[in-house]
Symmetry: C2
Subunit: 226 residues, 2 copies
């Protein structure tokens, strides 16, 4: 059976993508990066999703991006501490984490090359992407080409491809796709600013996008909100 690495945050998008990889016939090697994000509770969701899809392996890699800061998602500094609320726009928000998807894909390539996977699944969308530049297809293509030059597998004529099944879908379409594939969205976590007990806030940028998408899909979001 062929193998794929799935970058799994525990959120709605990556959980949907894991189901796509599974329905594409791949053995799933899930990779979760614990970047010391303030919403680390999503890692618990990732574990639940891994169980529900029956992955072969789940690597949780600590990679403390808080050492650098530069984002409202990782910064301890008061000045950028507030996660942006109600800011669904076109500019790059403060929740942008410098080079996050470059780092995540890099690590995914290391994992994929080691286990001889031929695909890396990632849940980015160029539609509902909150203005993050590292969610666009031209970035993914550039990354794939760069990685072909840098890896042993690439230099031996092989290739590890990046698959982004949601890249041209909005979040509503992603939810509809996931429901068709049997994704249990009650297991997922989306909020950037959860309460201490893990409950989603319902007012951060990320919650607003999620709630709007479920509303548009005509379905009740199965998670609880504070």
């Amino acid at each position: 059976m062929k193998r794929a690495v799935v970058l799994l945050s525990g959120g709605l998008d990556s959980s949907t993508v894991a189901a796509v990889a599974s329905s594409d016939g791949y053995e799933i090697f899930a990779l979760t990066i614990d970047y010391n994000q303030r919403h680390r509770i999503e890692i618990e969701s990732a574990k639940r999703v891994v169980k529900s899809i029956g992955a072969i392996q789940h690597v949780i890699l600590p990679l403390n991006l808080r050492l650098f800061g530069g984002s409202s998602l990782t910064d301890d500094w008061e000045v950028t501490k507030n996660v942006p609320v109600d800011k669904i726009g076109n500019s790059i928000p403060t929740s942008y984490v410098p080079a996050r998807n470059i780092i995540f894909l890099s690590v995914a390539f290391a994992y994929a090359e080691t286990i001889q996977a031929e695909k890396i699944y990632i849940g980015v969308s160029a539609i509902d992407y909150s203005g993050y530049p590292d969610c666009r297809p031209e970035f993914l293509t550039a990354f794939e080409n760069m990685a072909k030059l840098a890896t042993k597998v690439g230099n031996e004529g092989g290739k590890i491809s990046i698959v982004a099944p949601l890249v041209h879908l909005d979040k509503t379409a992603a939810i509809k796709l996931g429901l068709k594939l049997g994704v249990d969205y009650s297991l997922t976590h989306t909020c950037y600013d959860p309460a201490d007990d893990g409950l989603a806030c319902g007012v951060c940028e990320s919650c607003l996008l999620r709630l709007q998408a479920f509303k548009n899909a005509g379905i009740k979001d199965p998670i609880k909100y504070a």
Copy 2:
């Protein structure tokens, strides 16, 4: 004063590159990745080098690539345990660490973007590169272009450039350059298979390349060997 991130392993090449960055007039922000390599003793060398060049900041980022394995430098598995000895050749050796320089540059971009550095210095050489594909100039160019697409700074018309001062130099030329810039090579560490007390073995691929280079430069290597 302008800022540069220097990827500093504590080895001969990266220590030379740090001196180049300094002589190019940059404030130095040193970045060392603790990837749980078996020769982690090199991190102590990195700390000594940072002191000697007077860097502004030194971030040591734990990033445990041993979780994946796939290399004689990180693997615990018996089958790949032996670091290659006396194998200076053209094929990709077992000490190749999957996607290592992709990962290191990714993290360097995150750091550089956060501190608003304009350059990233890296000590790769396409001449004495042990057959590693991620040490060639075409890889560095592809990475730079990919990162321009993925980062906020790139999307705002700026650019973070990768500088590889040794890319067209062999190790002998690197040593001559470093000596001209006042690098104290007694602080550096090169061995892939050091003894428990940190002494270099003198027989691994990495030691052989170093010893040969000092010999060619007509200088005695100032470090001790077991």
